[in-house]
């Protein structure tokens, strides 16, 4: 994958993301075309260990409850203190049909890890979402350094 190599060499941070078999978040990240690493889908697989600051992109689970909104694989990844120290922001996928719970996983992670919720998008995002996030992420890393 081009993305892993790029993550190593880039001085800016990378993207870490989780996407289920439905692949919506994966598709969004592909469209972004930024350096990115995908968290393993299988619950038995060992989770990632990151080496550079990153922005996390995650879907929201469940039907609006805080419980279960953050995918277990993301929780496992963030429970590693080393990984958690390197998170700089979070972007959440969701669906406005869930009302107040739209992108809830992003809000929970933002509060837990004390990083900003940068953006929310629906399903695999529109071209506008992709353009806004690409530009936003670029400027975000500039401000970080």
């Amino acid at each position: 994958m081009l993305v892993d190599a790029a993550a190593e060499s880039s001085s800016a941070g990378s993207i870490v993301y989780f996407s289920t078999k439905s692949g919506n978040t994966h598709r969004f990240v592909q469209k972004l075309g930024l350096a990115a690493q995908r968290l393993p889908i299988g619950r038995e697989e060992p989770t990632l260990r990151v080496t550079t600051p990153y922005i996390l992109i995650t879907p929201t689970y469940g039907g609006g409850e805080v419980k279960g909104a953050v995918p277990g694989q993301v929780i496992r990844f963030l429970n590693d203190e080393h990984n958690r120290r390197l998170i700089r922001g979070v972007i959440a996928a969701g669906n406005t049909n869930f009302g107040d719970a739209y992108g809830l996983a992003g809000r929970i992670i933002s509060e837990k890890c004390h990083v900003p919720l940068l953006y929310r998008f629906e399903l695999f995002g529109t071209d506008d979402d992709v353009a806004r996030v690409r530009k936003g992420v670029e400027e975000f890393w500039k401000r970080q350094t």
């Binding site: 289920t20 429970n79 869930f98 009302g99």
Partner: protein, 323 residues
């Protein structure tokens, strides 16, 4: 037509042996979302209902009758035909849940009617629904696909019903809610809106799984059919919308909501959205009515987001996340 493998015999369903994890994930999501209309205190809307003009009341009853028809189709025809095409016993079980919840949705509109409306007005609206050409046309466009022997197009039609056709109707209770009217009814409709999102997502997911196995030619053909059907439904939705909302001056705004949701329906099928953002800019008060207690927006990048305050970091454990 397709090599899709249907279930040929009935075996006892074993939820501890899954062919597709998504089935259990969605089953859990749907069952934890379960609700009944009795949970919502609709009678608190009686006073508000009485502030509506006769014309507004008629519009509301007609809109809800139109929604009832779609729920009835989905419950009694849509979900059962999807069941026939199921690839796993668990998928079949998920459709039984969808079928039942669509019945709950249809039942809910009758609860709203019996709480707020006169029998005569409701009977009039049901008569209207049977004779309204655009409502009947959309029903026919969907039923035609359901009656066909094409499992892929059945799913396409089903996702369009779940994720697109409902929204000319859902607009109105969100509009009333944004004007602080019929707020309990809006609470009930939000529960329906939440369910339909899961239905559209799941049926769309199963569609994408099946489509991936088809030949490239067949994939292209189905994609063309899907966009064709969407445009046909869209043209009809525009006429339906105008026939209902022109007299209250809301048609143009409803159409934006249609475009926005048509895009999401396409995305549920894995297809690119069709309508550009210049025509999907739904009135922010309608979007806000979808999430009534969210008090902030999160567009951090544009700088328009709400204030973000860095707090003190806390250790994270599995328990913390309540997972």
């Amino acid at each position: 037509m397709t090599t899709m493998q249907r279930l040929s015999r009935v075996n006892a369903i074993n939820w501890n042996r899954l062919q597709d994890d998504k089935d259990l994930e969605v089953w859990n999501r749907l069952t934890s979302n379960f609700w009944l209309p009795e949970k919502v205190p609709l009678s608190n809307d009686i006073q508000s209902w009485n502030t509506l003009t006769q014309q507004e009341k008629q519009l509301t009853i007609r809109v809800f009758t139109g929604l009832t028809l779609l729920d009835t189709i989905q419950s009694s025809v849509g979900a059962p035909v999807l069941m026939e095409d199921a690839r796993t016993p668990h998928e079949e079980a998920v459709y039984t849940n969808i079928a039942f919840m669509e019945s709950v949705h249809a039942r809910s509109y009758s609860s709203i009617f019996s709480t707020l409306c006169t029998t005569r007005d409701v009977d009039d609206a049901f008569r209207w629904s049977e004779e309204n050409p655009t409502l009947q046309a959309k029903s026919e466009l969907i039923l035609e696909r359901y009656r066909s022997d094409d499992p892929l197009m059945r799913k396409v039609a089903s996702v369009f019903l779940e994720s697109f056709l409902f929204y000319s109707g859902f607009y109105l209770p969100m509009y009333w809610s944004s004007h602080a009217k019929l707020t309990n009814t809006a609470d009930l409709i939000r529960l329906i809106i939440r369910d339909e999102a899961v239905h559209g997502y799941y049926i769309g997911y199963k569609f994408q799984q099946a489509l991936a196995e088809a030949t490239p030619e067949r994939q292209q053909e189905v994609k063309d059919y899907a966009y064709e059907l969407l445009l046909e439904l869209y043209d009809n939705e525009v006429r339906y919308t105008e026939s209902l909302y022109d007299e209250v001056g809301l048609s143009e705004d409803v159409k934006k909501f249609l475009h926005y949701n048509a895009n999401k329906a396409l995305m549920n099928l894995g297809f690119e959205p069709l309508f550009p953002s210049s025509v999907t800019d739904v009135d922010p008060t309608i979007m806000a009515a979808l999430s009534p207690s969210a008090d902030e927006n999160h567009d951090f990048f544009s700088g328009s987001g709400s204030s973000y305050v860095i707090g003190k970091a806390v250790a994270t454990e599995d328990d913390d996340w309540s997972f």
